[in-house]
Amino acid sequence: MNPPVVRMQGMCKRFGPVVALDGADFELAAGEIHGLLGENGAGKTTLMNVLAGLYRADAGIVEVDGRRVTVREPRDAVRLGIGMVHQHFELVGQLTALENVVLGREGGAWLRRDRLRAEVEALMERVGLPVPLDRPVRELPVGVQQKVEILKALYRGARVLVLDEPTTLLTPQEVDALFVSLRSLVASGISVVFITHKLHEVLRACDRVTVMRRGRRVVTARRAEVDPIRLVEWMVGSALPPAAVREPGQLGEPVLELEGVRVLDGRGVAVLDGCNLLVRAGELVGVAGVSGNGQQALAAVVAGSAHPHAGQVRLAGLPCARGGVAERMRAGVLAVPEDRLREGILPRMTVAENVLLGRHRWHFRSLRYDPEVGRRLAREAIEEFRIHCLGPDAPAGQLSGGNLQKLIASRVFGASRERDARLLVAHNPTRGLDVTATEFLHGQLVEFCRRGGAVLLISEDLDELLKLSDRIVVLYRGRVVAEFSRDGFDRYAIGRAMTGGVDA
């Protein structure tokens, strides 16, 4: 029998005091799609980053095609035929797809476009992954950008392709297309590692699955041998808390109303253009849409960090003053920002100082700042939200993505309990969260609604919207183009509306 394409044994990696890999093993067979499943912080991405040369392991053996290798830097990995596509693409937006694919491999000082094009076209043909080569990448849909990333890795000679959470940003249709592409890649002799924390993706797309927990491999199994319940047990190491269930409650007065809201971005382009929306007390309204269709502006305009250029935002029937976030917070609006690193976290400040952000306005009555207040709140948050960190005084920037999101959630829900919060705007609140943390956060959202709060949930995770929403509206090019009530939810109809398809 052939040796595995990749074998990793006893991999260890620490980041300061945090043990990310604790003797992890992994084998990838030739020509398979191998799911790498685990909760946040289980070590999936770290393990693959070691393989791709982005991190150096502290201990462990890596073999490629049965030969022992050392991967010190990304170049070594490329030479060994290992390519990785990260969650956040590394593409140059202004360059065309062709230019991106050959970037760094142009071969000489002159750009011999015809020869390069012929090569890339041959590659696309061979692996069955066609993309339009001459459009600037930033004009392409996310799913196509992803294909460009994959082609880039293959053009550099990758035989092993690692995809880190590749479905996060895709519509259901794009996910289907990705899985078809992966099959044709495998048929052309490529082996694929598919990092995910979504069970149904593993069950749909993978030949084998390796489940990781706490930096170690729990099990490797064939798809036929696994079922969702066992996968979850392997992932979390115990049974799950009961899932949050939406029971349609009593709807109250309108809390949030948007009427003809228009928002221009820095270049004067309308990112929200005649947006109408209504959320009532006790109602959870989900906003579906492909990223970049005005979600950010919608969240900002509700949270008060942006102002409409035209139209009106009303809270509890009253037009909002232009007072900004502070005024909006006083009116009972809380926000879970989308981009946690950019908008949610003070990376060089401590966990305690982060937990306090926004709430400091009411926790300190005088000018004096008492660091103990933040520490106390942080200890409670760490306990309640199971934030993995070294304690209240750890720098927030050291936390993993999932733990940062928990930190932000603890801040927002903490604030909602301390103040009379009426409206919660959450933008991709569970992106990157593991199963346990997602369930917990969903429970908090549902509970907030049950107590009469209104929730505007903007999410790219359609499953999440389908599970939690009373109503789903679809945002496309800055306006609401479709609306579905709970008894009329249809995944594919929503997906079509997300891409601008006309659908009754």
Binding site: P337, E343, P347, M349, H360, F364, S366, Y369
Partner: protein, 345 residues
């Protein structure tokens, strides 16, 4: 870093600095040898000149004052997300207001004169920083450009004042008439020539630290500096906070100018700041944007400047060689800091 695992790392982070020190010593030896001086004697003289004698200590302390106030100004700015490159201009602005007051009202009684002059210095520096602060807050104009431009304006303004209306006709250079005794800072170490400005500088360090870490405003300043988007979503008025930070930073630099006038020169001179602004930025960066780092860094820089200046006398090094040495040491230190930061990553 308190865990056992970090101990190896601590030594790792010392090596780059040890390397920088060795390189600097090697360069010094080479320079001294090149002019035919006594290498070991020069090193001894360097130590004696900066802290080996009472006079040396006095000189070093006097040098610490503007460096500490200046680096505190930069640290405060950086913490609040503004890069104040205009420390030099604000030093001159504070020196001008303090001197102007002293020259305009020479008869003010002693108990009032000095405090008023120091406050005038604070106000002068603050006013000089107010324009870039306003432009940044209202129109998002980068403070970097505006403060740099204002440095030139302040410098040429001082040239005008010191050679024109305030010129001391007896001196024949670009210096103003002396200020009255009531405006002069008392000496702290009369034998060493150290003036009481060091007390003000240390007090300023304590005040800046307390502002940043023990007031709600300080929390908002740090949040704004760390991530303005997150701070804004936390209800903090980011623009106003940024502007305030730049004004306060300017006030600290203005105080440095007033102290140089009232404590050291007893008049306004054109060369009042031999690049204190740039050195303050270096100290702030090497001190990792912290108040204790600024204190330690200012003392080290003062020792370096005073000690290497003395090499002109003790080892016969030309002044330009001393500047080369100082600049090279700074470069080594910055490189060491960069290497240390990379190793940690």
């Amino acid at each position: 870093m308190t865990t056992g695992a970090a101990h190896g790392g601590r030594w790792q982070s010392v090596w780059p600095y040890a390397g920088a020190a060795a390189l600097a010593a090697g360069l010094l030896a080479a320079l001294v040898a090149a002019v035919g001086g006594d290498v070991l004697g020069a090193l001894g003289a360097l130590v004696r000149a900066s802290f080996g004698t009472l006079g040396g200590v006095g000189q070093t302390l006097n040098k610490v004052v503007p460096l500490l106030l200046g680096s505190l100004a930069v640290v405060l700015g950086m913490r609040g997300g503004v890069f104040n490159i205009g420390v030099d201009g604000q030093i001159y602005a504070g020196a001008v207001t303090a001197t102007g007051l002293a020259l305009a009202a020479p008869g003010l009684p002693g108990a009032v004169a000095l405090p008023v002059a120091l406050v005038a210095g604070l106000a002068g520096g603050a006013a000089w920083a107010a324009l870039p602060a306003l432009l940044r807050a209202r129109y998002a104009v980068s403070e970097i450009f505006v403060t740099v431009m204002l440095n030139f304006i302040a410098l040429f303004g001082v040239e005008y004042l010191s050679t024109g209306p305030w010129n001391d006709p007896m001196a024949g250079e670009a210096i103003t008439r002396p200020i009255a005794r009531a405006y002069q800072l008392p000496l702290l170490l009369p034998q060493g020539g150290a003036h009481a400005g060091i007390l003000l500088a240390v007090l300023a360090a304590v005040v800046v630290w307390a502002l940043l870490y023990r007031t709600v405003l300080g929390y908002e300043i740090r949040a704004t500096g760390d991530n303005p988007s997150a701070a804004r979503l936390g209800g903090i008025p980011v623009e106003g906070t940024t502007a305030l930070v730049l004004v306060l930073s300017g006030a600290l630099a203005g105080l440095a100018g007033a102290v140089e006038v009232t404590g050291f020169h007893h008049r306004l001179i054109l060369g009042l700041s031999p690049g204190y602004g740039v050195m303050s930025i270096l100290i702030a960066v090497l001190g990792r944007r912290t108040v204790p780092g600024a204190v330690v860094g200012s003392v080290l820089f003062a020792v370096l400047v005073v000690g290497s200046d003395s090499l002109q006398r003790s080892a016969g090094l030309p002044a330009s060689a001393v500047f080369v040495l100082q600049a090279a040491i700074l470069l080594f230190l910055l490189a060491a800091e960069g290497i240390r930061a990379r190793r940690r990553a």
